[in-house]
């Protein structure tokens, strides 16, 4: 079949080293807070992991050659899977999470920046573990940026690519992704966002630990918290606003920040994806605020706006933070949240979901078909930002969307075997597939995913990975033609 197994194994061994190093901060946190048992557990994991990784990677020498597309898909899928597997070790060794399935779920939820949890009481966990949980998200957010900006275009998954500014991202042609300066800058931007978020949250009166957890949750659009009541715990409009602000900017196409750094502000504000994204957010905030105020859910219009904006931004960015129990909101507001969940953030950002650019293209497709009904012979190209979308990209967006719908429906059916109410079931699918992590009813702000059976938890982990990696990356691995190159 001619797969370059060496290249795959080498990448995975590098992954081991990376994860090993990533556990260091958590180890330090544990030591700092005097949680020696947790620290010991981290140490026990880090050294074998690093040693194995180093051993394997030193043994394998690769002849540099063009990486084939199939290998690219396998590497991406396995990397996320592997990272989640290793990432579940701290939970298991410290025995903070019962059983492999739960630990794996928690770890996948972290690396996919979903922020769903099976732990019903997070406040009793050691700080080191809490830090690791959130740090996984941060790593996942970083990983997804690399994936979206550098790897996806090489794999030819269109849609994400369309709104890209003129910055050519690095390509995957020599195995080691060569980072051009422009791409490196994007990762610096991510780091800068994180540090600013932490600093601003500390200014709001949070202690550095809480601030880091909340910042990781925001910039990675993950949404895990170290309190059972989430952001509500702090009950501060300032903190809510800072968290929302950073989730929103983390959900804007990162390549556009490069334009800003280069002084091309126009590119940023002329970008239709960003405009529509912000427009949807403002519109949703406005109607939720009006609804909450008019139906008397909150006493003042200011409070309605505060929670309306926080919850809208938390859902469209697929973060899943919560600062209020939105389960008691009206059906109308809940429906708006559900729609926001499906739309998701911009392309090449840390947000999940269908992505705004695809929604824009699909709406343009509808607009065109209205025109064609009246003028059957007209040939009208679809344009975004003045550029014509090639038919192949159009077909790619369409097939992505319908695959999404199909996966959504099939997954909802599989989860409905749990015989929970349908609204819980639907929003569970949406929460996992779009990497939101919070849904309505039983998995709303007060609930956790602990109520699902092991089978469903494994399936949900799979769904989170699938959603994060833009469906095709995972689904392709299950098609016979993927493994049979002659077809």
């Amino acid at each position: 079949m001619g797969l370059n197994i060496r290249a795959i194994v080498k990448t995975l061994s590098l992954m081991l080293i990376l994860i090993g190093f990533s556990m260091m901060p958590s180890l330090l946190i544990s030591v700092f807070y005097g949680e020696y048992k947790t620290a010991e557990a981290f140490a026990k994991i880090i050294f074998p992991v690093l040693a194995t990784g180093a051993l394997i990677s030193s043994q394998i020498k690769i002849i540099p050659h063009q990486l084939k597309m199939r290998e690219g898909f396998i590497i991406v899928a396995l990397s996320w899977f592997f990272a989640s597997l290793i990432g579940s070790l701290p939970y298991l060794v410290t025995e903070t999470v019962d059983g492999f399935v739960n630990a794996f779920f928690e770890s996948v939820s972290g690396f996919t920046t979903t922020g769903a949890t099976i732990i019903s009481n997070v406040e009793i966990l050691p700080k080191g573990i809490l830090f690791w949980r959130s740090f996984c998200q941060w790593l996942g957010g970083m990983g997804i940026l690399i994936f979206a900006i550098s790897i996806l275009p090489a794999l030819g998954i269109s849609g994400q690519r369309i709104a890209r500014a003129e910055t050519p991202g690095p390509t995957l042609n020599k195995l080691r992704p060569r980072m051009s300066d422009s791409a490196k800058m994007l990762y610096y931007i991510y780091a800068v966002f994180t540090i600013s978020a932490i600093s601003l949250l500390i200014l709001g009166g949070m202690d550095p630990f809480d601030a880091s957890i909340a910042a990781f949750g925001s910039v990675a659009s993950g949404g895990l918290s170290n309190y059972n009541s989430g952001i509500q715990h702090f009950n501060s409009a300032y903190i809510e606003f800072i968290a929302s602000f950073f989730t929103v900017i983390a959900c804007i196409n990162f390549t556009l920040y490069y334009s800003i750094v280069r002084g091309r502000w126009r590119d940023f504000f002329k970008n239709s994806e960003v405009r529509i994204f912000l427009l949807i957010l403002c519109l949703a905030t406005a109607i939720i605020t009006a609804d909450l105020w008019l139906t008397g859910s909150y006493n003042t219009i200011w409070e309605s706006l505060r929670f309306g904006f926080f919850q809208s931004s938390a859902f469209i960015t697929t973060t899943g933070h919560y600062s209020t129990n939105f389960n008691i909101w009206t059906s109308f507001s809940k429906m708006v949240l559900f729609i926001l969940m499906l739309i998701g953030g911009c392309s090449s950002s840390t947000g999940g979901g269908i992505k705004v650019i695809r929604v824009i293209i699909l709406f343009k497709l509808i607009k065109r078909s209205f025109h064609v009904k009246l003028h059957p012979k007209a040939v009208i190209p679809i344009k975004v930002d003045g550029k014509i979308i090639p038919p192949d990209t159009m077909a790619g967006v369409m097939s992505f969307f319908y695959l999404y719908v199909f996966v959504f429906i099939a997954s909802t059916f599989i989860l409905s075997l749990e015989n929970l109410d349908l609204l819980t079931t639907f929003t569970t699918t949406a929460a996992a597939l779009n990497n939101v992590g919070t849904g309505l009813e039983l998995i709303g702000p007060t609930g956790s995913f602990a109520l699902f059976s092991d089978f469903s938890k494994v399936y949900l982990s799979f769904l989170m990975l699938m959603g994060r990696l833009e469906l095709f990356t995972i689904i392709l691995l299950f098609t016979p033609s993927f493994w049979n190159p002659d077809r």
Partner: protein, 485 residues
């Protein structure tokens, strides 16, 4: 746009509707319901006057209907027919309030079968008959009669037929529009007669047999009993109704093949195969779930319940033999999905239609294939023929539009602050012309819980769904009215 031409065609539609009320009038007379008969008589006379005025005084400028006029004629005919059908409901006092009456009559014509009435047994027979008769008329399309009449008036009507026939138009049946619609009507009438006779043999009285025949061949779902088909508690009747709704959900053009003994094209049809496969698969799956969760004690009973419900939901009929609201979530989920699938194109059923689902899966398959072979040019094939990129993109945008309308519709209904499953299934049931939904609009409940504004919105949603979205939505586009664009 030639509004005189449009007025003339609409007048013909009114004329046809006036004549269609005659059977209901006779039923009222037979059952001695004099006030109902009076209501029908008044409506008939009023409509006759309107239509004669329209036909006699308005002289059209042009001889053929263009695309815009065709779309406008179809959209306004359906809305007008539903509006006029409000007359007997309100005049006889069976339904108070315009919004409710409009809902009931659009639900009839669009073959939805959703009702705002909680106790249908108390209605006069004439009204019950009219309600179900609108199913029968709407099933085939209320303009089909008009199309048959138009050529004799010297008006070409191709664009009307295109706008009213459900499903993407992929091929023409016969070059002569009127002769093919005539054959389709013979088939429809034949099916109706056969079902009435079979139901009579099952021990139904004549009135009930007609009501349930109209409900099943029109894939509507109005019954003369609140508990629908469960009232009869007869396996035979359930089987007859299942078979006929199933047949009504098949592309009528395929019967045309049968008519000329062209078995191959019938059996080989991709859409038909997919349709039957979906039914078989869903029914067996539901039966297993019902048996597993102990809803049915014996597997045979589970199969009976599952088959009946699967067929009536996928064909968007909406008859029920049990309160499927109480079923486990997984079976409810399957039924909800079937609501979106619908029957075959050019059948009397509503919703998305199997052919579009088939194309959707082909698009997904092609998408996966193209990931690995980015340069490959893969056409989408159906029944061995390549679909043009125009047809594929129109199907793709239809599906997306359907999802958008469903979402926005649910959002609008959720203003009523019913739970979201009720709201979503209300919209799915109305847009797909199914009838009953889940939650508070389940098979044993009615749509009376909604406010007038929502009721009217849902009525328009049913008509939008029946006319395959574009026909109604185009009217709201500025480009439609601006002929220069």
């Amino acid at each position: 746009m030639d509004f005189r031409l449009i007025t003339r065609v609409l007048s013909i539609v009114i004329l046809i509707e006036a004549f269609s009320m005659v059977p209901a009038l006779s039923v009222s007379l037979i059952y001695n319901e004099h006030s109902t008969a009076g209501a029908f008589l008044f409506s008939i006379v009023l409509m006759l006057l309107l239509s004669i005025a329209g036909i006699y005084f308005v002289k059209p400028l042009s001889k053929s209907v263009n695309i815009r006029e065709g779309l406008l004629i179809v959209a306004s005919s359906w809305i007008l027919a539903s509006l006029l059908s409000v007359l007997p409901y309100m005049l006889s006092g069976s339904i108070q309030g315009f919004a409710d009456a409009f809902f009931e009559s659009s639900s009839g014509f669009t073959t939805t079968g959703a009702s705002i009435l909680s106790n249908v047994e108390s209605l006069p027979r004439g009204i019950l008959f009219w309600r179900s008769f609108t199913h029968w008329l709407g099933g085939m399309g209320i303009l089909v009669f008009a199309i048959a009449l138009l050529p004799s008036l010297g008006i070409g009507a191709l664009h009307i037929a295109e706008a009213e026939t459900p499903g993407p138009t992929t091929d023409k049946l016969t070059p002569k529009l009127t002769s093919s619609t005539r054959i389709l009507y013979y088939i429809y009438i034949g099916m109706t007669t056969a079902e009435v006779i079979l139901l009579l043999l099952g021990g139904m009285n004549v009135f009930d047999a007609f009501i349930h025949t109209f409900g099943s061949v029109g894939t509507g779902g109005f019954s003369s009993y609140s508990d629908s088909i469960a009232h009869f508690n007869s396996l035979y009747i359930e089987i007859v109704i299942t078979v006929f709704t199933l047949m009504a959900g098949i592309n009528f053009n395929l019967y045309y093949f049968l008519f000329f003994r062209n078995w191959r094209d019938f059996v080989k049809d991709r859409e038909l195969r997919a349709y039957l496969l979906i039914i078989l698969f869903s029914a067996v799956l539901i039966a297993v779930i019902l048996y597993y969760f102990g809803i049915a004690e014996r597997f045979g009973t589970a199969l009976r319940l599952a088959f009946f419900q699967t067929v009536t939901i996928i064909t968007t009929t909406g008859y029920s033999t049990t309160d499927f609201n109480l079923w486990p979530s997984s079976s409810v989920m399957i039924l909800l999905l079937l609501m979106f699938v619908g029957g075959c194109s050019s059948s009397t059923s509503g919703s998305i239609k199997v052919i579009r689902i088939v194309v959707l899966f082909k698009l997904i398959r092609r998408g996966i294939y193209k990931r690995l072979h980015p340069t490959a040019v893969v056409p989408v094939k159906l029944n061995g023929k390549n679909l043009s990129s125009g047809v594929v993109s129109s199907i793709a945008s239809f599906l997306f539009l359907y999802i958008i309308i469903f979402m926005v519709g649910t959002l609008i209904v959720s203003i009523e602050n019913v739970d979201l499953i009720t709201a979503a299934s209300t919209v799915a049931a109305c847009l797909g012309n199914v009838g009953p939904g889940f939650g508070e609009v389940g098979p044993l409940s009615s749509y009376s819980l909604y406010s007038d504004a929502t009721t009217v919105f849902l009525s328009l949603l049913m008509i939008t769904g029946r006319l395959e979205l574009f026909t109604i939505l185009l009217l709201f586009m500025p480009g439609f009215w601006d002929t220069n664009r």
